[in-house]
Amino acid sequence: MSTLTTEELSKGRLVAPKRVPEGFLWVDAKGAWSEDNFLRSFIGPLVWCSFSFLFFAALLFSLLAAPNWGLFVMLLFISMFAAAGVGMIVKGLRWLTIISKFHPGEVLLASYPLRMGETFRLRFRRSLRRGYTQGSGEINAKWLCYEWVQYRQGTDIETKTHILWEQDLPLMTISTGTQVVTYETKLTVLPEGPPSLDAQHNQVRWEIHISVDVPGIPKDTAHFRFEVVPEAV
């Protein structure tokens, strides 16, 4: 069964686009500054690190003072939590670097919602906050439809996905000295669908994932989800 990794997975429910003169506009919330993103990326990991580092240091000192196997095993155990905390902090710093260099990604569609079998043109843009790209980069994109479910197992909430269909879109090169990265493509919704399902625990999602990779900035992927209504063209 083909699935998506946590990194590839977008969050939440369908978001209604903003009506603009050119059509319908989506802004990638993950690529924008928000208190929620900040709390998730920094405050949570900082609290995690404070506790795990404190325990780690206490165990390390105890071990150095009176070495024994029990303490050593405990130190190994707590070091996994400390390493996870470091990983979270690194991820947070990466996110901060991206949002300080780039404005959030935006997608424009001329008409919406989408219908089964419809072919439409999509325009993506993402601009640098300051200056221009220092070297050539690339954009790659994927158009996909997948099932997403969430279920409770004991006290944990588990998520599972199953890709129904996916299409790798043509790669595009970003030339040196670009200020606004743009990507245009023509997409088709499969005639047989399925249409979107947007329930709390069960969803059928139609999404485009667009990765921008330019020198000096960590590679970042924006996710945009569209509604496909149960209506054939």
């Binding site: 479910v149 969430q150 599972k160 129904l164 399925p194 399902l197 069960n202 209504v229 209506e231």
Partner: protein, 121 residues
């Protein structure tokens, strides 16, 4: 005991599902509570999602012993669906469900379900 007579067992989104719920019971005990509704629900790996689209007007006083009682209904299926779906992790099922509570019983007795299909337009 209910019977269901659909006028159309397959309906496209935005169109009307209609039919007739028929009550007949030779039982001495008549229900003290009864309910019938049109809903969709999910089955599969994920937790349950469900939504009642229409409640069929039904009073226990309507349900008379030894007499057939017809309860016609008509409901418009929402344009946005969902449609009946049978995927890998998810199944979406549309159905009419009816249940009664008999005297001195706290649970739902005689729950009956009649599935039907909702198709895209």
């Amino acid at each position: 005991m209910f019977e269901m007579h659909f006028h159309n067992k397959q309906v496209t989104v935005g169109n009307e599902l209609s039919g007739k719920l028929v009550w007949y019971s030779p039982d001495l005990h008549l229900p003290r509570q009864a309910s019938a509704f049109v809903h969709w629900y999910t089955e599969g790996r994920g937790d349950l999602d469900e939504q009642t689209i229409f409640t069929i007007p039904l009073e226990p006083e309507q349900l008379i012993r030894d007499q057939r009682v017809d309860i016609p209904f008509a409901v418009q299926i929402p344009h946005g669906g969902p449609i009946t779906y049978n995927g890998s992790l998810i199944r979406v099922i549309w159905a009419v469900q009816a249940w009664v509570k008999l005297p001195r019983s706290s649970k739902r007795d005689n729950t009956q379900t009649w599935p039907f299909l909702v198709m895209p337009r």
